[in-house]
């Protein structure tokens, strides 16, 4: 692209005159409308249900009122439990995510590439798996660690993982990797000269991290905080497995009760769900207030190469920090589940007669599981691939465009994250059942559902990187006469690459392990795997659950490896 000799005019004045402007508006408006339709269509049905005070089994509702909301104060203790656990888990997850992202992107820690790969593993596994593994490790009587502790002569258990602290710990361990992926995507796009300048004038590494790195990645961290907090609010598995033994309940376990019982109390569950919109919107409002009017640009016209700091011998300490996290979140849980999955009834000291491969035989013999794995992978691939285009454009519209209503759009795309999936799934089911196209009961409805519920994940991940890019880079292209499509393809997209890859991986994995929407929306020929795994925990055995989940983890891990290898090769070719 070459600049011509035309006289310079103010950029804002040129934008409307550019040939790309109508196309930009058209694409922007189309994407915004599509996303809004995906989200608001089921949300309409959710609100309809929340105000339904007639027979809950009759649709559309026979009568409307506020009765369901009037019952919410009865659940105030559960709401407080939920907030307490969600805040504790979010803080822990962000600390894990930020510290490890900083170590792996900004320092010369040994085995960085391998550690980075492993950091995503906790996110591969279905959340139930982490909770199950830690229940096997840390239950007071039968937990493997406590059994070993007693075998060493102790009388009491070393620790008890059931209860609120255990729930927050397990949630943080496994969601910490999401925070890591989101924050490290931001850190990778950061010009290291800012940190180097800080150190040149005498600031210590810690001071540089706190005073320079942290503020610069604040949008990414805040974006991750919002997403992770919402994930924690909607988290179900850890509370189910670890909370019940200690009589500790959160909002998702209460909602599960409401939708599972006969007759299901969907209107109350919907009222509970839509009430969480208020919490989420307060979070986004806060995010916008904090980030408004400040610049987080770290990628400008000035060229830079991502460089890392030489931290000397401290690198081994930092390596140990990463290793401890990975042991807690990957190796120990995986080893525990592997050990449990080859036993009839898991114990730390199994007799030879207790060892068996029958759980793997059962898992692999289930036709439904075999086809479900294929469906899960196909959906994951499609959702991630379409999702990054959709969410990339949405992030761009929200952060960069001048489209009217772009601020509202940011709130709209967060709707699916604000409501526990178990409830949002009912809204989607009601909505798509009456939609004139025959998508219900097919893979299409799952694709639409996944694209809808993972909009927040993609938008938050990509936005975090997008706000680091200096607008002048695009404007330069614009002044030089490049069309909007050309600028997106040659300037914005390449600079967004870390964010796009992170978003693809996150959406892919999130799709494969999706549970809440899948349970209601899958058809007999469009089954996916995670509901079958969770179901095995409900009615079969922890050992079969472990076997199925490990099979899923290995397959997903292999697919991710292929994707990363291909994308790296493509990047090298491109470079």
């Amino acid at each position: 692209m070459e600049c011509d000799d035309r006289p310079l005019v103010p950029v804002a004045a040129t934008i409307e005159k550019r040939p790309g402007a109508p196309a930009q508006k058209l694409v922007g408006a189309a994407v915004a409308l599509l996303a809004a339709a995906f989200v608001l269509y089921p949300v309409y049905y959710l609100f309809q249900a929340a105000f339904d005070v007639g027979d809950p089994n009759v649709r559309p509702p026979e009568a409307y009122g506020l009765d369901n909301f009037a019952l919410l104060p009865n659940y105030s203790e559960i709401m407080l439990n939920t907030l307490g656990v969600a805040v504790a888990a979010t803080v822990m997850a962000l600390v894990f995510g930020f510290v490890i992202a900083w170590i792996l992107t900004r320092t010369n820690v040994p085995m960085r590439a391998a550690l980075e790969q492993l950091m995503a593993v906790p996110y591969y596994v279905t959340p139930l798996l982490g909770a199950l593994a830690w229940a096997l490790l840390g239950s007071p009587e039968s937990g493997f660690i406590n059994q070993l502790w007693r075998a060493a002569g102790a009388k009491e258990a070393l620790f008890d993982v059931t209860g609120p602290i255990g729930i927050a710990w397990v949630m943080a361990l496994f969601e910490g990797s999401v925070a890591f992926v989101m924050i490290s995507a931001v850190m990778k796009s950061m010009d290291p000269s800012l940190e180097e300048a800080s150190q040149v004038i005498g600031a210590s590494r810690l001071r540089t991290m706190i005073r320079i790195t942290l503020p610069l990645v604040a949008p990414g961290v805040l974006g991750a905080a919002i997403y992770v907090f919402a994930e924690m609010l909607g988290s179900f598995s850890a509370a189910l497995v670890l909370g019940s033994p200690n009589r500790f309940y959160v909002i998702t376990t209460a909602i599960y009760q409401l939708v599972s019982q006969y007759p299901p109390r969907l209107p109350l569950a919907a009222a509970m769900g839509v009430s969480l919109f208020a919490v989420m919107f307060a979070m986004i409002f806060l995010y916008r207030r904090i980030t408004a009017g400040r610049s987080y640009v770290t990628v400008s016209g000035k060229a830079f190469r991502p460089r890392v700091m030489d931290v000397g011998t401290l690198r081994w300490v930092l390596f140990a920090v990463c290793a401890v996290y990975l042991i807690m979140s990957v190796f120990l849980p995986m080893a525990t589940l592997l050990f449990a999955s080859v036993q009839r009834l898991a114990t730390v000291f199994p007799k030879p007669s207790n060892l068996t491969l029958e759980h793997y035989t059962t898992a692999l013999s289930l036709n439904a599981v075999r086809s479900a794995m294929g469906n899960s992978l196909l959906l994951g691939f499609l959702t991630a691939t379409i999702g990054i285009v959709l969410t990339g454009l949405l992030a761009w519209i929200i952060q960069r465009s001048r489209l009217p209503g772009r601020n509202v759009l940011e709130y709209i795309v967060m709707f699916p994250q604000a409501v526990p999936r178990l409830v949002f799934a009912f809204g989607m089911m009601w909505a798509w059942l009456v939609f004139p196209l025959p998508v219900y009961g097919t893979l299409w409805i799952l694709l639409i559902a996944y694209l809808t519920v993972f909009l927040p994940l993609g938008v938050r991940t990509i936005s975090g990187v997008l706000v680091q890019l200096d607008k002048s880079l695009e404007e330069c292209g614009e002044v030089c006469g490049a069309s909007w499509f050309y600028r997106m393809r040659t300037i914005t997209m390449p600079l967004l690459r870390p964010g796009l890859i992170a978003a693809w991986l996150l959406i892919f994995v999130a799709s494969v392990r999706e549970l809440g929407a899948s349970i209601l929306l899958m058809g007999p020929n469009s089954k996916v795997l995670t509901p079958a795994i969770v179901e095995a925990f409900f009615s079969s055995s922890s050992e079969l659950t472990a076997a199925m989940a490990l099979i899923q983890t290995v397959v997903v891990g292999a697919v991710m490896l292929v994707f990363l290898t291909v994308s790296r090769r493509a990047a090298r070719h491109g470079a």
Partner: protein, 365 residues
């Protein structure tokens, strides 16, 4: 398994009156009676379905509350007997399954052919809504009349879920071993006893029946033990097997059998005052997508083949109500147990809100 030193009532007597109040006006009388259709026997299954049409339909869809391995085992066994009909299933928890089914029918979508609910009250409600097709299977003669719904021909009881006491034999010994329901109220079970959460239909039946037997105070006393409530049957039994809890008041026979098979030190006790029980209800839905295949599937499910699978598959383990049913794994027959069912379905259904409130408060929810 603990010795059960008594003989229960006969199956017919057990069910007598159990659902007497459940008479439902038939709103969807698309009567398909065996009397008006030719009955054939195919692969050991007596059926009034038109086999040629069933095979031409080539498929059928079964909705069930049961687990994935259970659903898979059922449709695979059926398809093995009738290879020209591709049977498939979809499962969800009873409440969610019913909400999904009603939403689909409300939107005019009729993909499902046969549905099984874990609670008879769900089936009765569905019957009231005209959800079932009336079909009198030729296999009905092998069942007691009250296992065929009221009026007969809308759903049948495809299996029985019943509960006793189950305890960990390494943790509970000697005089502490419970023999009847009231033995579980001893303070030694405080913090080490489990139950299900209020979502469980079986837990509702037990609450209702023990309240009838012992009065309101029973559950108040039980609540003082701070019981641990679970949604997952597997979690409940595995924790019991490993000693996290030492006894459960909701010792579902099927769950007990599954964990016992895996070598767990657990013992089933059949209290002499009776074992709360609830049937699974299965029927052909109205406007099925594959009507003949649906009828054939129901006949197969009611036949000795289907019922043997229900009794012996480890993901099912539901005792059969067939008069000629073989003993259950372990050698006992259903008639060996004194089962107690809700006598008034009306009273039972009306008690549900009180149950949910009391139960949730008791388990700290």
């Amino acid at each position: 398994m603990a010795k059960r030193g008594f003989r229960g009532l006969s199956r017919r007597t057990l069910l007598k009156g159990a659902l007497a109040a459940a008479a439902v006006p038939a709103t969807a009388r698309i009567a398909v009676s065996a009397e008006t259709r030719k009955v054939t026997e195919v692969n050991g299954v007596k059926t009034a379905a038109d086999m040629a049409k069933a095979e031409a339909e080539g498929a059928m869809l079964f909705y069930t509350h049961d687990s994935d391995p259970a659903g898979a085992a059922i449709v695979e066994a059926f398809s093995k007997d009738f290879p020209k009909i591709k049977a498939s299933y979809l499962r969800a928890q009873n409440g969610a399954l019913y909400a999904k089914l009603l939403a689909e029918r409300g939107a005019g979508r009729y993909a499902v052919d046969v549905v099984q609910f874990s609670e008879v009250s769900t089936a009765i409600d569905f019957q009231k809504k005209g959800g079932y097709e009336h079909y009198e299977s030729p296999e009905r003669a092998a069942y007691p009349a009250n296992a065929l719904g009221t009026p007969a021909g809308y759903f049948f009881f495809s299996g029985i879920d019943f509960v006793g006491i189950v305890y960990n034999s390494e943790k509970v010994t000697g005089a502490d071993v419970p023999k009847n329901w009231k033995d579980l109220l001893k303070p030694r079970f405080r913090n080490v006893i489990s139950c299900k959460q209020s979502t469980s239909g079986m837990q509702f039946v037990q609450w209702f029946e023990l309240k009838k037997l012992y009065g309101d105070d029973y559950w108040k006393e039980f609540g003082k033990l701070r019981p641990h409530g679970f949604d997952s049957r597997a979690q409940l039994f595995e924790r019991l097997a490993k000693g996290e809890e030492q006894a459960t008041i909701l010792g579902e026979w099927a769950g007990y059998q599954l964990v016992k098979d895996r070598g767990a030190p657990v013992v089933f006790v059949a209290p002499e005052d009776g074992l709360p029980a609830t049937p699974l209800a299965t029927g052909v839905v109205s406007k099925p997508a594959h009507p003949e295949a649906a009828r054939l599937f129901l006949d197969w499910l009611m036949s000795p083949k289907g019922q043997t699978l229900y009794q012996t598959n480890k993901f099912l383990y539901y005792p059969s109500l067939r008069k000629d049913a073989a003993p259950m794994p372990g050698g006992m027959k259903l008639a060996d147990y004194k089962l107690i069912f809700p006598k008034s379905m009306d009273e039972y259904e009306k008690a549900h809100p009180a149950y949910v409130k009391e139960w949730n408060a008791m388990i700290g929810l």
